[in-house]
Structure formats: structure tokens, C-alpha cells
């Protein structure tokens, strides 16, 4: 198996943001009739350049922290790395199994139990039913939720949901872990075991890309840092230069 790596070359992503008006067929038709289809056809649609010419090269063992203001393109970059967003220009190449932990709600069915949700998430991540059966005990233990796992997830607190999602998502051996902010969920005890698991993952020659606003988290998990600003990425620098980067 080749070692994990991520390469982005001149990655540019633009996407239309549709307002409520643009999502209505009736209004679109009315506009087309009213103005002959030429003008105003794109009313309510705004084109956003979320990433422009991002170059990125990560190899096994890299733990990259993404910083930047809200809307600077951190999440878009993570979504692109997960394979959900396709580039408009440039390319993305990822070697290794990707585990996206961008949204706690991925594959979470509030009315289903914790067990069922773990099963569902693992199925989505590519495990077979048998593989899930084999790992269920271990995953259940990791969540530390015990008997609560048999209850519907809608009765959980945010921290409990985070435990289920994190346990299920990291149950699959992955080489590239993409995380957005919410690493901070869970109580101190869970943060500690989550921390151990993350470190283990990185030791396994994996790559971590973590988007966050919190400097302590960055210093805890990352050895490199990159700053996003309006879709433009800075150079990747060593974490020790974080303060310089924040100051600039």
C-alpha cells in the first residue's frame, strides 16, 4: 500500500448560491416569460469563488491545521478533499482511505438508536455488516455510553451525539482524517480518549486536516498550519510559527 498523501494543484472551486427565489420553478418561469428569458434569468443566484488556486501537498504524518475567518474557505477545502465538491479548475489527488468528520449529523437518524446509527455510519464508511458485527463491542465501549446506545439518538445531548459520531467514524481504519471544528465536543474524559485515538491514527502514518479557530487545539493536534483568507491559502508553515501567522 502506498503511503497516504494529499496533493492539490491550483484548486479553484466556484459555486452558485441559490436564494429562495432561484429555487422556485414558478418564479423562474415567470421571469423567463416576463423578460423574454434573456435578462434576470439568474436572479437570486450568486456565484461564489470559495477557493482560488489552492496548492497543497501533504504526506504521511502531516497534521495540518486550517485557520481563517468564517467563510474563508476552510470547510469548502475539507469538502473538496472528501470528494464531495469537484474542482472547477485544478485537481485534487488523495491517496488513502478518507474519513470525513465534517458534520455530526452525517448518517444520523434521530429516531434510530445509537447502535443503529453506528451501524448506518459504518455501512456508509464502507464496512460490511459482518465487519460491523465484529467491531460493534469495541465501538460501543469506546463511546462509553453503555445502555444509552439502545435509546434513540434524539434523546442524546450534543456531547453524546459527538461521541457516537466520532467513535463510528474512526472505527474504520482510515489514512486521511478530515475534521471540522467540533473536535471540542464531549466532556474532558471523552476528549482525552478521543485525543489518544487521534494520536494513534497519526502514528499509523495518517494525515489529519483540522479546521478550527482555537489556537490551543491547533497546538495540541497539528504540526503544520495554513491560513485561509477569502479562498486564498497561505504557505504551509510549521506550527511553531503559528503566532507569526496569526499576527500577520
Amino acid at each position: 500500500m502506498t503511503a497516504a498523501s494529499i496533493t492539490c494543484t491550483d484548486l479553484t472551486i466556484r459555486f452558485p448560491v441559490y436564494g429562495a427565489d432561484a429555487k422556485s420553478l414558478k418564479k423562474a418561469l415567470a421571469r423567463a416569460v416576463a423578460v423574454g428569458g434573456a435578462l434576470g434569468r439568474h436572479a437570486g443566484v450568486t456565484d461564489v469563488t470559495a477557493l482560488s488556486n489552492v496548492n497543497l501537498s501533504l504526506k504521511a504524518g502531516d497534521r495540518l491545521g486550517l485557520i481563517g475567518h468564517n467563510g474563508s474557505g476552510k470547510t469548502t477545502l475539507l469538502r473538496a478533499l472528501s470528494g464531495a465538491y469537484e474542482p472547477d479548475e485544478g485537481s485534487i489527488e488523495v491517496n488513502g482511505r478518507i474519513a470525513p468528520l465534517l458534520d455530526l449529523g452525517l448518517g444520523i437518524d434521530p429516531s434510530a438508536t445509537g447502535y443503529e446509527n453506528i451501524r448506518l455510519r459504518c455501512r456508509i464508511a464502507g464496512l460490511s455488516s459482518k465487519e460491523i458485527d465484529a467491531r460493534m463491542d469495541e465501538i460501543a465501549e469506546f463511546t462509553g455510553l453503555g445502555p444509552f446506545l439502545a435509546m434513540p439518538v434524539k434523546t442524546y445531548s450534543a456531547g453524546m451525539k459527538g461521541r457516537v459520531a466520532f467513535a463510528a467514524a474512526t472505527a474504520v481504519e482510515c489514512d486521511v482524517l478530515l475534521m471540522d471544528e467540533w473536535i471540542a465536543v464531549g466532556d474532558a474524559e471523552f476528549q482525552q480518549i478521543a485525543h489518544k485515538r487521534l494520536l494513534k491514527l497519526v502514528e499509523r502514518a495518517g494525515i489529519l486536516v483540522l479546521a478550527t479557530h482555537e489556537a490551543p487545539l491547533l497546538k495540541l493536534y497539528c504540526n503544520k498550519v495554513m491560513r485561509m483568507d477569502g479562498g486564498v491559502a497561505s504557505e504551509i508553515v510549521d506550527i511553531r510559527k503559528l503566532d507569526d501567522l496569526l499576527a500577520s
Binding site: K23, A80, A84, E89, S91, D103
Partner: protein, 277 residues
């Protein structure tokens, strides 16, 4: 494990490239067809969580509708229950599956937005999920079908292999309609209401609970109604009647043209779909 360990995405454009990517989505979704099946089972199981009868609740209400409409129309049109009740039962069950597949198609991508916006799962995986979910429902409703056929002795004349061919044609056609509904509804949020109205109108215009021989000189309206042919190809063999050859021609043509057009639309909108959601 089936998860890709290498991913390459480029900003390449062009119809040929988009088409190849759509084909890759298609083969990818077949490669992970078990996932669609698991998701469909999960949907069915979670929808009926906590109810004793499970999905048979719908079967029960459908059975009552069959009885009610069957007895009412039989007496209105002075038909024999022996023939009319199985006819209505098959009509309601199979038309219900078609309607379900198409109407629920509207939600296919919208409900999957969480997964589509952070994984590289094939988009068609979710279309098959909707199709499978409705096939699982059909599996439950077969109780009504089998019950009627046995009770009224139609099983002696039923041509099951031919009916299965009809089911395959129905699934092939309903699935492209479902995909089309999914793409259109992702882009325009008022499409689902339109589709629901159209399907309701279609139910009244199609001989689901009335006999087509009453149509007389307006036969052309039946021949142009795709739902008539879809229903006929499944129902007629089970009732021991013949399906006209032109119905098969119509259905095959509809499946081929429908899939070609819908797949082209899918190929063109695929990379944008996730942004519509």
C-alpha cells in the same frame, strides 16, 4: 473493503468527460449496491419503529381501500366481485409502488444532502435506495395480491413469469422517472408538489379502479398513457389476460429513451447537484 483508496478529481470539462464521470457514478453505485439495500431497509425499519404491524400498517390500509373501492365500484357498475376485486387490488398495489417510487424520488437527494456534501459516495446510490425502499414495500403488499389471487381462484390462470417481466419493465421505467424527479426537485423546490399533483391526476386517468373497455372511442387516450401500459404489463398476466404487443414496445421504448435523456441530464448536472442542496 470497498472504499476507494485513491481519489483524483480534476476540473476537466466537456460533455465526454461529464458523461464518463456519470458512468463512473453508475458503476460505483452498482459496486456498492449493498449499501443502497441497507439504507432502504433502514428507512423501512425506522419509519415503522415502535408499531407492532410495521410496514404492514400500509398494507392494512391499502387492503381496506381495495375492499372499499372494489365493493363500491362493483355495485356502481354492476360488476361481479369475483372478477373486479382482484382487478382493483392489483391496480392499487402496483400503481401505488409506481407512485411511491416517483413521489419519493423528489426527496432522494434532498434527504441525502448531509452525506452527499462530505463523502464521495455515488449519487445514484441514493436513487437505488428509493427504488429498493419501494420494492420492499411492494414485498409487504404482495400479501394482498397473493391473498386475492388465491381467494378468487385467479392463481390457476395467472402467468407469473410474464408478470415478472412486467415488474422488471415497471422498475426500469419508474427508476428513471425517480431519478428525474430527484434532480429536478433538488434544483427547484416547488417541483415535488407538481409531481404529486401529476401522479394523482394520472391515478384517475389510468384504469386503476375502472375497466378500460368502457373507454370506447377514446381508446387513444389509453394508448398514450404510459401508466396504463406499465400497469397492464403486470396486472394482465396475473389475471390470465394477454398483454398486447404494442404495450411491450411502448414500455421498452419508454425505458430506453427515458434513461438516455435522464442520464444525459444527470451527467450534466451531477457536479452541481451537491450545491443545489
Amino acid at each position: 473493503m470497498q472504499t476507494a483508496t485513491h481519489m483524483l478529481r480534476t476540473g476537466q470539462r466537456g460533455a465526454g468527460f461529464q458523461f464518463r464521470m456519470a458512468v463512473r457514478d453508475l458503476t460505483g453505485s452498482f459496486g456498492r449496491i449493498g449499501l443502497s439495500w441497507s439504507l432502504a431497509w433502514h428507512d423501512v425499519a425506522s419509519r415503522y419503529r415502535g408499531s407492532v404491524l410495521g410496514p404492514f400498517w400500509i398494507t392494512l390500509s391499502m387492503g381496506l381501500m381495495v375492499l372499499g373501492i372494489g365493493v363500491l365500484y362493483a355495485s356502481l357498475f354492476k360488476l361481479s366481485l369475483n372478477e373486479f376485486l382482484p382487478y382493483v387490488a392489483l391496480g392499487i398495489v402496483f400503481f401505488g409502488v409506481m407512485t411511491g417510487t416517483i413521489n419519493e424520488g423528489c426527496d432522494t437527494f434532498v434527504l441525502a444532502s448531509g452525506m452527499l456534501s462530505q463523502t464521495s459516495l455515488p449519487m445514484l446510490t441514493f436513487v437505488w435506495r428509493t427504488v429498493f425502499r419501494n420494492l420492499i414495500n411492494l414485498g409487504h403488499h404482495l400479501v394482498i395480491v397473493v391473498g386475492m389471487l388465491i381467494f378468487y381462484g385467479q392463481w390457476k390462470v395467472a402467468n407469473v413469469p410474464l408478470a415478472l417481466l412486467g415488474v422488471i419493465l415497471m422498475v426500469l421505467n419508474a427508476s428513471w422517472l425517480s431519478l428525474l424527479a430527484a434532480v429536478a426537485s433538488a434544483r427547484y423546490r416547488d417541483i415535488p408538489q407538481i409531481i404529486v399533483s401529476v401522479m394523482q391526476f394520472a391515478m384517475f386517468m389510468t384504469p386503476v379502479f375502472w375497466l378500460p373497455d368502457r373507454f370506447g372511442k377514446h381508446q387513444i387516450f389509453l394508448d398514450l398513457n404510459p401508466f396504463y401500459h406499465l400497469l397492464q404489463s403486470v396486472r394482465a398476466p396475473l389475471l390470465g389476460q394477454t398483454v398486447e404487443v404494442h404495450s411491450y414496445v411502448f414500455l421498452v421504448a419508454m425505458a430506453v429513451i427515458g434513461w438516455l435523456v435522464t442520464f444525459a441530464i444527470f451527467a450534466n448536472t451531477r457536479r452541481r447537484l451537491v450545491h443545489y442542496l
